[in-house]
Symmetry: C2
Subunit: 674 residues, 2 copies
Amino acid sequence: MASLVQHLGLFLLFFVPLPLVSCHSHHHPLDFLTPSEFHQVQAIVNGSNPGSSHNVTFQYVGLDEPDKPALLSWLSNPNSTTLPPPRRAFVITRLHSQTHEIIVDLSTQSIVSDKVYSGHGYPLLTSEEQTAASELPLTYPPFIASIRKRKLKLSDVVCSTFTVGWFGEEKSRRVLKILCFYTDGTANLYMRPIEGVTIVVDLDEMTITEYYDRLTAPVPEAEGTEYRLSKQKPPFGPRLNGVSAMQPDGPGFKIDGHNIRWANWDFHVSFDARAGLIISLASIYDLQKRTFRRVLYRGYLSELFVPYMDPTEEWYYKTFFDLGEFGFGLCTVPLQPLADCPSNAVFMDGYYAGQDGKPVKISNAFCIFEQQAGRIMWRHTEIEIPGEEIREVRPEVSLVVRMVATVGNYDYVLDWEFKPSGSIKLGVGLTGILEVKGVSYTHTSQIKEDVYGTLLAHNTIGVNHDHFLTYHLDLDVDGDANSFVKANLETKRVKDNISPRKSYWTVVSETAKTESDAQIQLGLKPAELIVVNPNKKTKLGNYVGYRLIPGSLSSPLLSDDDYPQIRGAFTKYDVWITPYNKSEKWAGGLYMDQSRGDDTLAVWSQRNREIENKDIVLWYTIGFHHVPCQEDFPVMPTLSGGFELRPTNFFERNPVLKTKPPTYVHWPNCTTKS
Amino acid sequence: MASLVQHLGLFLLFFVPLPLVSCHSHHHPLDFLTPSEFHQVQAIVNGSNPGSSHNVTFQYVGLDEPDKPALLSWLSNPNSTTLPPPRRAFVITRLHSQTHEIIVDLSTQSIVSDKVYSGHGYPLLTSEEQTAASELPLTYPPFIASIRKRKLKLSDVVCSTFTVGWFGEEKSRRVLKILCFYTDGTANLYMRPIEGVTIVVDLDEMTITEYYDRLTAPVPEAEGTEYRLSKQKPPFGPRLNGVSAMQPDGPGFKIDGHNIRWANWDFHVSFDARAGLIISLASIYDLQKRTFRRVLYRGYLSELFVPYMDPTEEWYYKTFFDLGEFGFGLCTVPLQPLADCPSNAVFMDGYYAGQDGKPVKISNAFCIFEQQAGRIMWRHTEIEIPGEEIREVRPEVSLVVRMVATVGNYDYVLDWEFKPSGSIKLGVGLTGILEVKGVSYTHTSQIKEDVYGTLLAHNTIGVNHDHFLTYHLDLDVDGDANSFVKANLETKRVKDNISPRKSYWTVVSETAKTESDAQIQLGLKPAELIVVNPNKKTKLGNYVGYRLIPGSLSSPLLSDDDYPQIRGAFTKYDVWITPYNKSEKWAGGLYMDQSRGDDTLAVWSQRNREIENKDIVLWYTIGFHHVPCQEDFPVMPTLSGGFELRPTNFFERNPVLKTKPPTYVHWPNCTTKS
């Protein structure tokens, strides 16, 4: 019998969120910048601009990803005296209306390069400039007049910033549009849009440069829009009884800095202002080969395209690219213990640079927990053998790493789930609040035109839109030289009546030679899509591989020549393969705000590079068409999707054949303190 | 602080599997037959065959589903003195080589009708006749000679039964094929097939009527095929730490007979020898309307088609219809507490009639548990309002009803997951053991022909195959008169340059008038598929509905004119809608064994009946193409799929807006007894 004291310790471990700030002396080369490194970068960059350092704004500061060959070479000799690749920061600043790309070397404390970017598009927006812009209307007389005209109280108006997109304009300036909402009687500002006003702010000048008050529509009522528990009135319900996760043997994972080891998995997590969560160097231990084998060099959400489907003056431009414009790291929200993550979760903080370059902490940016959802990892009952009944069942435990990004109204839950069987499942949950349009209608019978959405409440249209999440998955299946195989399932006709059957299907595999061979619209042709290592075979002679099991399909419906679709051309195919290229990280381009589609995955791939037996990257887009419904009002029940990367002849046999079922302990002698 | 005694009680409740045998005096009209009712049916049927009752075999005994109008009328007057619909059993027997369909009235203890079925196809196989047939070869001299020729020990040979399908033969007899396996050194008989022998058994005569020993292939070695933990040798791993589910407030569901009430859901579970789990009368409580509203009248897996893709003599016929041939209820396995279902599960038994008509119990046929997988039901973080930070998160708890059917080698995990948000998710897990073919190859380099599968081990080909699970979903969306709406998402071109945008998509809804309008191959056209109640609108005027969110797509690849595909023609479309018809329960027909495709969903639908504003049934097929891989050897990690039925304007607003987060309790004062 274990002692009380031991278990007290155990419980503290479970229930206290653990902020696991890296405090060991040397970094992993893929660790994100520490607070002190952010300070160093700020000092170095500001130091290089004497006299105008107060004008520099830091639009992005992050780890300059080490060269992959250098990192792999360092990793392959862990005990050697080889130094890790130089630790560098990549910085994008704005100074005097120019965008600078700066590389700072942290070991030499010096600037390696500082280039002015003169192409199209602008960097990530900072929170500070968005806040400043959104406050401008409140002191802008024409806006005050508009509010007065609508008989609203200025003190209850809250404004927010929206990127403007690009619609063929030849000249661009760094501008945002501002939309305002009414918070009288509700915290759910998005449900009370003040329709008809267009406000354009020039960010370099930080002034309102255009203003139109084109139409008025009723501001939807506050009634029924609240989602805060404290504002709800009875009856409450439905009642849910909690289920707490208890781990008799404690958590099964170990965190060392930002490296996580659990069951047969080993991987690194990192935080980035743009991507949010980055998973690197995911390797799985092969019990037979007695070694870790790499699966994924680096994986992260690369872009999230959210086009709305209302072409009218006040709505047409709403075609957001949330990662490149707003930053998923910047939008990462602190996770709430026992709510966003279960009771057995541990938490990790993130840091990004504020506009002044100083570090800003996001507490509980990630959570990590063992998930036992009651699923079965494998099982079999055997009753065919006379006199024997065999029942072998292995319940599944998996490890989840989660982040949530709230981009204004919408909340995205991103999960990476690692399974002992070798699968990696990427889960996406959409929740939060819709973007709605104020209209005069209070009943569908009044609607005689296309309103581009669904009437959700009085005067409230939930506007149709899409979400396309494009993942960058640099798979390294047992090494970095990989090929992409389309294992097509083709119907064959039985010839010459040699069988009573007339048909069957068989696998006809094609290896993609160049990028165009691997541009795939799913659903057109049945196939298994496999990344293989053409240099490694199982003992039986099958190529080791991982296959992509897609989720449900939703392809873009915008015309190819439409501006948002030109910018979001990376969604044209569900799957793309590119040769690894350090600079090709962001599917829509490095400068997404007002981009013109000249730096997208679709453009890179026009070079039609060779991808056979190369270090390749798989890009996969999971899409959702969203026709809002009344259940999404005033806050949306999570809509889930996802996809799976699953080993296919990667192992010689089932890698969890020899997993023992976890132990269960009865906890009969408990009392509660509630 | 709660007392120790209280919590002791609580724990007993959690950890002791509760066999919830219905013991109340009156049945729900949809309850499956009780043991005593099975005995009554047996006595009545046997009594009607004096002199030959010992020759009667009971191929199927189940509840004769009450007429839907009668049942609904009875349900709508719960307090009236109206009697429930008459309680009847539907029985299929074989007697003197004829199939009888018998209806027994249990209240009058009499036979209502007894008809001889003279169409094509045969009823469900009984376990007893399969066992008898599989033992015949062991005393059959030519088979003994075949075994001797292969230098195998007869004592280690185990045989199993396989349905023969139909390949255009004009005359049929009730036959099975027998395949035999070698268990020397392993319990994994499926991995040691004795290839090349064809044995045909006539079930009416119970004799071997055809025998061929056409070829020999090596019997794959036993080495590496064991999956039993007790037979594994070190090293073990990966190690998984358990996570036990603890419920501070106890389970949130109540079971009354076979009725389950949980959160806002109320539904009935039933067991059937053919379908396994049946969910009926699923209704959800509407907090605003303060009433239960029906969603699903009756839902169950209707057929499971598993065609293998090897056209050679010994394999071509393997095109199984597991429900109609073998019975998913008959194949339901007892669930193992703490392994098949989590620690907070409760269990329910099932009963079916043995070949002699007497009841056979399946302990723990279903489990029911609250699942808290760490998912988020809805959330939002709000930082736009100056001076406020709002973080509202509701963790998700759902209720799962699970069964597992093991059909010979394969194990199917079927989950019905009810969510408080109104969604019903149907989950399918495929695990168990592959059907493999013995071949001479030991390395892929030796293979120069199509081997119809993957080399998984020495002399072992995992043969390509499909799984198509077709669900019968009699949705009654807020009443039984429903329509099926295809809400097509259509790209519109912006005309006359009235917007900077060039395109957008909008919803163009079509209501299906007749069955052919609702035959849908998914993936061809983007659409939301919605079952609406055309007689009920929300206050805002939207039709109340539930939509189908499909899982990943896999459509049949056999030729339409191929015999297995004629029999499995119900898989031709992913979605079908039929008007409710009590007799249309089994997508492939009532008599599936050797059926000729004349009683399938595809045939019924040729009548192209009206389906608008009718009581309609949604049929949905979830498919898997399975190209085996080495990880599936010797036992398969679960491959999962599923789909969702989600309310769409069914509620006036988010139905879980006013759900309080479940309470969590620290359990600090525990000691273990392990």
